[in-house]
Symmetry: D2
């Protein structure tokens, strides 16, 4: 079988590492181009755990070289930096899965919460890479905006129940994330002593993932109340969601029906746990109703379903491959 | 100065240990009686960290002996076991601070959520030991029902804002607790491997602390939506609270005004963190409003303000002592 | 390609789970038989993280059934229980990889440190499953005694340097292990509160893995000084080893030469870290000399190289397969 | 009773915080001067956990001001920075407890392992602040060099057994420390993701605390083999020590006799644990012999006995106060 050549720009961070880990084992993709902002190193020098697994050279990022060597490129870059690569890559006919926020939002919303957008043309044609919502559109997409981690867990938990929601009542998403979500950057927030034995909310009601959740659910931003919390563990994310519902339904049956064709969503009979999804692309969802209040617990691995494995699922779909090709389903348990 | 003789029944658990740690340093109380269900040991044999600090004999629990040796007794026992001690102790004229759930709820609610109550007479005269709510009543109380940990954090967070709440809208308390809240008992839930790198909700919308929160706030049980989560750390608890509000107010000003005379509540300008209260009786509270949604973060040490140090504050008030006598205010930071 | 049918007896524990996780993805083995002491469940009921991955029925363990359905059986059972299965399985012509201690030691040593041995005949023909020592013998083995986790890390670290060791000087192995090494059993030692923020040695100088280390290195038991410590993390093990050496050598060159044909040993230029081997069969080794003292740091995943993945490597060799067939090499990093 | 005015220069770090926590509760010292390199803040702004406890102004460090306001000053500064303060403070007649390495070693050794020494005169008169070794000299000391954390735990463990040690055989100290030992500085080593679920040795056989251990024990530096390891927890330190011994003795009896007058050393019958000393000035020691090998486990809180509480004990002795005045003995357990 012939392989499809793919590249990763942004090899240094956690999501870059996760991409490499999957791509070197992928049955259909061949990782032929790996780059970061400096180059002059190798995959296993950057990430010692890859020793004996991948010693691919890491290049200084170049659009030309990426375009010559790859049919599809994954961008694991900060927002704003990403769009500077997307524009020429797309112009060169390279398909792109962008893991940044640059192509996830309508222009107006993006500029209100992030920065000026310099690639509006592509923004209009990008597809939001949540397969459960846009599987059809992804098949012909040239540019995929890979969803944020919080929105992935929140939206997947909410979607099946939106038709039972009492309109205009608040949607509350109390999210908990492991520290890898903060990236490799050194900061007070990632110092071990400040995280261990600790827990705290940050950016309450003001986090930039709130408009992304609202936009994809088709509700007003004011209705989404999103508060993330930092938890002393490395990977994983749980969104605890509260909405007011009406009508008769069985929580589990609604979930089973909605996700009956989704290979990467699992319905739980007990509240979801982070560990059961760590290292996989699964989103585990549990729901429980009391009166007109519905509690939903939605768990993902923030680096996988919340970033890199979802990116590869998207690439699989874009390339006409099996949706789960090369996607790990064995969790880091125990 | 003369000391007041006090005792602790239930010396083996975490809250028993915390009581001992404070009582051996207390300026006015003298710990003269320490008991558990078996006796025949000493404080430092039960709790090796007390070596060189307290080698008091641990007795097999006896109401007679406790009544002879103490003016006031702390009960750190499971519910149901506690009431069997309260009845005769009160009859013997001993004052009691009961850390169990036995005297926290109206009879009907107690029996619906716990078990049959066999000491209704005392139940009717017990005072709920949240000083910020019942300081006056505590001064003459003979029996104090020490609040649950979750209700302490939730109620203290909610009280100042109840007058701004839109009536009959849901009160959502998404709580996170360290593992010491589950006690010393061995269970799947406290096995290190099941907790480390993990996080999950338990008893969602059905936990027995929900009616306690509702009762003390004077709202209907159906309006309180309470979901606790277990977090991989030892001590500490944060309630993330969401309510719908109306009217004009400044969040911080409301908190400062409400708690201007409360020595053990601190108002935070940033979201509260568990570590800043660990080892102390402080409740740290932060609030942030967006439109008509109010987010409140209320942090306590579950074993201290959520149990043992609050119990000693209650005893201080019952005995006419300074409210903060013997109460630690130096947090376990870093 | 035809598959080789294999079974696992002992499906409930951590090592049983790890076996299942690898066997369901193995290119040559087919997991046809899965058993524990009770049966009447499925793989994903026992281990919820396997939902959507493996719903194989878990049987009540039966030698007859295992013999009928499998060419090779993995035993993930406690010592003493294991030998009761080994005897009849071997008699039935089934190959066995035993993860217990039952066939690791000479009779005299086994009975001194464990219990009476009831299968001496097979004990004499078992092969110790450390491929780096006994690759040749494993090829024709019918019964493999899978090494203990501590001995695996200690022996692999020591082997290359034994010829430089000053004879009869002490071998010191100060080992650190994650909590999964203690198994799923509930005990004081595995209660989260006792492990988190804590660290302690246990069975110092008296642990049963010391004679196993001594036997395989061919030194007197008295010369091996082994002290394990419990560390607050889930998986991983590092042996910090100290020996007195003589002669001229370059530490790294000795390691590179000794392990030049070992696919699952990696030589480190910096002290080894647990995370870089978590989830893999790698043993990472680092050495540093100062005068006549040599420090060696040897890191493995206690459940993988220390148990289950090494078991599958052994089975691969026994069956004439590629040594690394189905063996994960992608670490749980970050 | 009159108070003794004391100051702390170096208020920002963990040891500075620990000093403040003890000094605000000290029965005889009054904290009148608090400084760091920038000033213009308060104690509770620097350390939010101090809110409601200490709002003392933090000054920009000034020798003149410190000399005017204090009889004794604690320096919680990096080495080299410290000596620049010591010289003028001593010249001004102020007593100093220096928590840095600047006055711990003989000149030659200091300059070999650290940097040029610019205050040799005071170096010659400084007293090494390990009360169990130099209690007598401390009484009249003007300048105390507070010991390093690793040396404190190693030396206290070794001292009682040095007379049984086989001369010139290796002393092995395999130490494990929590992350607070690395200080507040941001670095790869303190990033949560690199520490959590991880463990590794650093500076093996080459750490600067090795010569300090050798010097105070009076043995050759070459005989001390010291390897520290970083453990995923915040505070605490255990030295696992291995020496070769001869002669008949009972391990526990030796310890009990040697430390019979030491209020801050506890002898353990089981291997010591970090948690039992966290938050206190205790050093817990356990010893176990097998043949001529002696294993010693010595546990301290690295920030307390390993730094700040030992500093205050030293100040107590210098000022003729009770040795344990203001010294916490209640551990952070659970």
């Amino acid at each position: 079988m012939t392989h499809i050549n793919v590249g990763v720009i942004g090899a240094s961070g956690y999501t870059g590492l996760e991409l490499v880990k999957m791509l070197v084992k992928h049955p259909n993709f061949k990782l032929t181009y790996l780059a970061n902002s400096e180059g002059e190193t190798t995959a296993d020098e950057l990430h010692p755990s890859l020793k004996g697994v991948c010693d691919l050279e890491v290049q200084k990022a170049s659009v030309t070289q990426a375009s010559n060597e790859c049919e599809l490129v994954f961008l694991a870059l900060p927002h704003k930096t990403a769009m500077a690569y997307v524009k020429p890559l797309i112009a060169n006919g390279v398909k792109v899965v962008d893991l940044s926020a640059d192509y996830r939002l309508p222009l107006y919303t993006y500029e209100a919460f992030y920065t000026e957008h310099t690639d509006v043309a592509n923004l209009e044609h990008s597809v939001y890479g949540l397969p459960e919502l846009f599987r059809q559109e992804l098949k012909s997409a040239k540019l995929v905006a890979n969803p944020g981690c919080f929105p992935t867990s929140a939206i997947l938990g909410l979607l099946p129940f939106m038709k039972y929601r009492v309109e205009h009542t608040p949607i509350i998403v109390d999210a908990k994330t492991g520290v890898s979500g903060a990236g490799k950057k050194l900061s007070e927030t990632t110092h071990f002593v400040n995280v261990n034995d600790n827990l705290f909310a940050y950016n309450p009601l003001m986090h930039r993932h709130a408009p992304e959740i609202a936009d994809k659910l088709g509700v007003d931003f004011e209705e989404v109340n999103f508060v993330p919390h930092l938890v002393p563990l490395t990977r994983g994310m749980i969104s605890s969601i509260y909405i007011q519902v009406e009508g008769d339904f069985d929580e589990e049956a609604v979930l089973e029906e909605y996700y009956k064709d989704a290979p990467h969503v699992r319905i739980s009979k007990v509240p979801t746990t982070m560990k059961d999804v760590a290292g996989t692309n699964f989103c585990d969802i549990y729901a429980k109703r009391k009166g007109n209040m519905l509690f939903i617990s939605s768990a993902i691995d923030n680096l996988m379903r919340g970033a890199s494995s979802q990116a590869i699922v998207n690439a699989n779909i874009m390339m006409g491959l099996a949706e789960d090709a090369g996607i790990p389903d064995i969790a880091y348990v125990p």
